[in-house]
Amino acid sequence: MEKVRSHLMLCSGTGCVASGTAKIKTALDEELRKRGLSDEIKIVLTGCNGYCAEGPVMSVYPEEIFYQRLTVEEIPNLVEEHFLKGRPYQKLMFREPEKKAAIPAMKEIPFFKHQVLRVLRNKGLIDPEKIEEYIARDGYQAAAKALTEMTPADIIQTVKDSGLRGRGGAGFSTGLKWEFASRVPSEVKYMLCNGDEGDPGAFMDRSVMEADPHSVIEGMIIGAKAIGAHYGYIYVRAEYPLAVKRLRMAIDQATEAGLLGKDILGTGFDFELDIYLGAGAFVCGEETALMRSLEGKRGMPRPRPPFPAVKGLWDKPSVLNNVETLAQIAPVILNGAEWYRSLGTEKSTGTKVFALTGAVNNVGLVEVPMGIPLRTIIYDIGGGIRKGKKFKSVQLGGPSGGCIPEHLLDIPVTYEDIVATGAIVGSGGMVVMDDNTCMVGTAKFFLEFTADESCGKCTPCRVGTKILLDMLTDISEGKGKEGDIETLQDLSRDIITTSLCGLGQTAPNPVLSTIRYFKNEYEEHIHQKWCRAGVCRNLVTFQIDEKLCKACGACLRACPAKAIVGEKKVPHKIIQELCVHCRTCYDTCKFKSIMILPAGFEGDPQEFLEKNAVGAKEEK
């Protein structure tokens, strides 16, 4: 084999593929060939690197230099400068949004610096389509250890001691779950993987399946040995074509290498694994509904008990673990429970992956030790709020979760602390919102989703979510009435207590948590006909503050309705009759001269804004 002096780890996760990885690969190949560097420089296509906002991205080893926003036009310059002359190409390097100075090494980039990689241990380091690369990074060593040196009881004890909790959202002890299933005597048992990631804005599991499919398979082999299962399925949504392709490839490779199928590694243990494609119904993320769907029936939940550990898939004892949970298993077995507990807190051990999205500068996939404050994730890793705006709230747990306001940002990220705020850790979606986000609108967004995804089995969920949604729509259109807030709260509690599964039991959380922390906004919508974020079109009047207006003409040109008049050195004015309330002028103005006022506002705008300048208040 020819000696290779440099590896170019080109991200081919879904995000970067969408932003043009294939073209970059072709251009790189071509340019390296032209310069005669093809033999000494190797391109490796990796899974998601996590820094999707700046894709396509590429890390160059051994220098550990991180390039972003690659374009075909820049490739010749990059190859000549860096790979031929050894001068890292400044133009494509990472720049901190606030500072604008090029920083080269990955370890120096705040986005990467605060992270600890366990689940994502191979992200950007291996080629997910080559089993050898996974094995070279300790892959299947844990499975070998579990199959040769450990009894099922040893495995369960280690996982229990590690404190690992289900990463799909509920946070139940993984070791206990395995123990329950191991105790039920049965010839046939099933080891299942839940890859039906459905929260809007969440992409943790997709990323793991794409970047490191063997880590999930290895976790399943160990789990199968622990509970005594010889068959398994990975339930993954059909909307994840790249994840499905890589999982298929990984299963084929592992089967060929004798790591799946009969007599694994010559130890006498059998485990057969297959993939089942889900049609993307949110409710199928719920374990009993998922198993129904796997059986080929309509995906609907059923009452528990009996729990799946006793009667699961085809009424056989079954364990269903989330993708991220399974990817944590191999390191736990290899390094032991104590090692795993060395990060995190007493009750929330280890690390958690979050999909950080919304109004932050660094959108992407991050893995942090549990117990880290939310503020560190948002401001250090996330790089703060985009466009210098003010933070308003962070949404955790997707449609089952809630919004956390500014004054609670220093709480540690643990299962218990997050639940106390009214949100949940959930599967790891983290959506950051700035002060131009309407909280009534946020609740409405999530209710639109759950009302649509409710399977319809329980009336309170099917009808209740629709009524919640209708009320929120009325409030956002200016048809809110006295007493609406109380009705929303009462109905929410009814839905929570009378629904069968997690979907209905958590669907009202976005309503309750926004009322808890942002009740003032609901009241303003209902009584003052005012949406302070300037989102609800019926509840807003835009006016220009003449003292701040620099008469630059930016808003005038941007207005799609031609509703702004003015000329050089003359402060501009909005003609209210023509204004369509789209907020374009507000977003365009660099001098903050556009004021957001209630519908049909009359009076002194400054006085009104000063009087109503309140932040988030927690309901006492």
């Binding site: 084999m1 020819e2 000696k3 290779v4 002096r5 440099s6 590896h7 780890m9 005669g36 033999d39 000494e40 080893y61 051994p62 220098e63 550990e64 790979f83 031929l84 002359k85 050894g86 001068r87 380091l125 089993i131 050898e132 690369e133 094995i135 070279a136 990074r137 300790d138 892959g139 299947y140 060593q141 070998a144 040769t148 490779q253 060929e256 290498a257 004798g258 790591l259 590694l265 010559g266 130890t267």
Partner: protein, 127 residues
């Protein structure tokens, strides 16, 4: 791929060690070939080829090669720097194919700097 045994896993891991030394930083020798415009004009490309050839012949996984720009002393190009773990870097000048191969044998493999070709050791001071 044939069916694997537990022992095979370790073998595959060892075989790929070289690849990952590059990505994880587990190397003990670093050879830098200075490839500024002056270096390339003076024949740095051939030096690089010779270095790559020697490494693959030596079958060592802990040696990495890197390029760098002009070292400032264009008159003495081609230049290369050899860094062994815990030793000051040594910079060699006026290199040829034969010289770099000798340096590789004596210094990189043998651990003894080749004084007759060496220009300086250590780094310039920076503020």
């Amino acid at each position: 791929m044939p069916r694997l045994t537990v022992a095979d896993l370790q073998k595959i891991k060892d075989k790929h060690k070289a690849e990952f030394a590059l990505r994880e930083g587990g190397y003990t020798v670093k050879i830098i070939v200075h490839m500024g415009t002056c270096g390339i004009a003076a024949g740095a490309r051939n030096i690089m080829t010779a270095v790559m050839d020697e490494i693959s012949k030596a079958n060592r996984s802990d040696i990495i090669v890197s390029t760098s720009g002009c070292a400032g002393l264009c008159a003495k190009e081609p230049l290369a720097t050899v860094e062994l773990a815990n030793q000051p870097p040594v910079r060699y000048s006026d290199l040829t194919d034969e010289k770099i191969r000798e340096i590789f044998r004596e210094h990189v493999i043998g651990g003894k700097p080749v004084e007759k070709y060496a220009l300086v050791s250590g780094c310039e001071s920076t503020y």
